[in-house]
Amino acid sequence: MNDGGADIVNNGSKEETIKRIWEILRSVNDPEIPVLSVIDLGIIRNIKIEGDMVQVLITPTYSGCPAMDFIGMNIRKALLKNGFEKTNIKHVLSPAWTTDWMTEEAKEKLKSYGIAPPVSKTFDKNYLTNLPVQCPHCHSLNTNLISQFGSTACKAIYQCNDCGEPFDYFKCH
């Protein structure tokens, strides 16, 4: 545990420390979708070190997402646990968060968790029309939209016409 003094960059260079912090943040998960880390979601935009202060720039997903405050707290906790006592978390609104920033591995993790991942890129104008969404249970494309809004701001509710199961869809945003 560091003494919280002036220089936390005592094991290696600044770049190495920043790399270490990125690794630490892999352990901070979305509270609603615990298979995804904040890195998978593309929420962490940048990490900087200024003296003994770590600055983490995050982009909120949805304007009203109640998980963002919680995520901020968890980032702070994770860094504190690893010896970084002074953390400044800054919200940057622009460029706006988009599901395009989600990694392919993140989408696979979603699927195995039972949530259908976003089907297209948001610059595709058709993203709002109902593109076929694959059922994460039986993989059929014979599914229909029940509601644009689901249990959280980021999800919509679908139902599979083949296996009959309902499932969440992570909306293109």
């Binding site: 304007s63 622009s94 988009t98 948001t122 809004f149």
Partner: protein
């Protein structure tokens, strides 16, 4: 909360930001009245999500407004987003009148969301080019959400309008009752008249697109388009509100005013 701090006519940027924040907050608050009372579970969830999006947008605007106000003031105590939302009185609020109207039946609420989110859609599409970086950033964020709100509410306008005789009557009634409150959306207040500075947008310029889309949706909903020459209500942007806002604030602000400084 000092009226002068937030009602300074010279501070157009602050008033503009408050107008946007207040509209989102009051609309979000009204929609949240449906939570737990929706006609079907999925729609209860949908409308709660929309309310949440709007309150999130309101927060972004209020945080910015607090920044603006604090940078202009020499006072030691800095104001926060919460002060702006919970300690201002009705005459200081600059929300559009349509946002404070009672929810009525489902058709009435759908009508409100449709007209309002469509206004937000065209408004934000222009605001993303604002010379004010923070307003542009908030607009960029909010536009995506408004897009979903427009889609959801248009689908409902069509579902109800082109539905049974009962649903058609209710949707028609909703459109006619709300119509006089739509004009205000396109009449600039003093704080948004100087759009040549490229900070605020020219609200008169979005009227045509808005009207065209409304006509399209109403046509598909087999509902009549109201008389465009209807006399329009106004005053919201200048703190002159309907009798409804007082009741909304009394409920929304009660805890903070009864127990000042209250925190979770």
């Amino acid at each position: 909360m000092s009226s002068k701090a937030t009602n300074n006519p010279e501070n157009h940027l602050l008033n503009y930001t408050l107008h946007l924040a207040d509209s989102c907050l009051i609309m979000g608050h009204r929609l949240s009245e449906w939570t737990g009372h929706g006609p079907m579970l999925e729609q209860d969830i949908a409308i709660s999500n929309i309310a949440l999006d709007l309150i999130g947008q309101a927060r972004n605007f209020y945080q910015y407004a607090a920044e603006i106000s604090n940078s202009n003031s020499e006072k030691e105590k800095k104001i926060t987003e919460d002060d702006l939302a919970y300690l201002r009185d009705a005459a200081d609020f600059k929300n559009l009148l349509i946002t404070e109207l009672p929810n009525g039946d489902w058709a009435k609420t759908i009508g409100k969301i449709f007209f309002f989110s469509l206004w937000q859609f065209y408004f934000y599409q222009k605001l993303i080019y604002s010379a004010d970086k923070q307003l542009a950033a908030i607009a960029e964020k909010s536009l995506k959400e408004a897009t979903y709100h427009v889609k959801w509410s248009s689908d409902w306008v069509i579902r109800l309008g082109d539905g049974t005789e009962e649903s058609k009557n209710r949707m028609q009634r909703s459109i006619s009752d709300l119509w006089p409150y739509t004009g205000e959306m396109f009449v600039p207040a003093a704080f948004e008249s100087d759009f040549k500075n490229r900070v605020c947008i020219d609200v008169t310029s979005i009227r045509n697109d808005w009207t065209k889309k409304v006509k399209e949706v109403l046509q598909e909903a087999t509902t009549d388009f109201p008389d465009e020459k209807t006399w329009m209500q106004s005053g919201g942007k200048n703190g002159i509100h309907t009798e409804h806002l007082g009741f909304i604030l009394a409920e929304m602000q009660f805890m903070q005013r009864a127990y000042p400084g209250l925190e979770w």
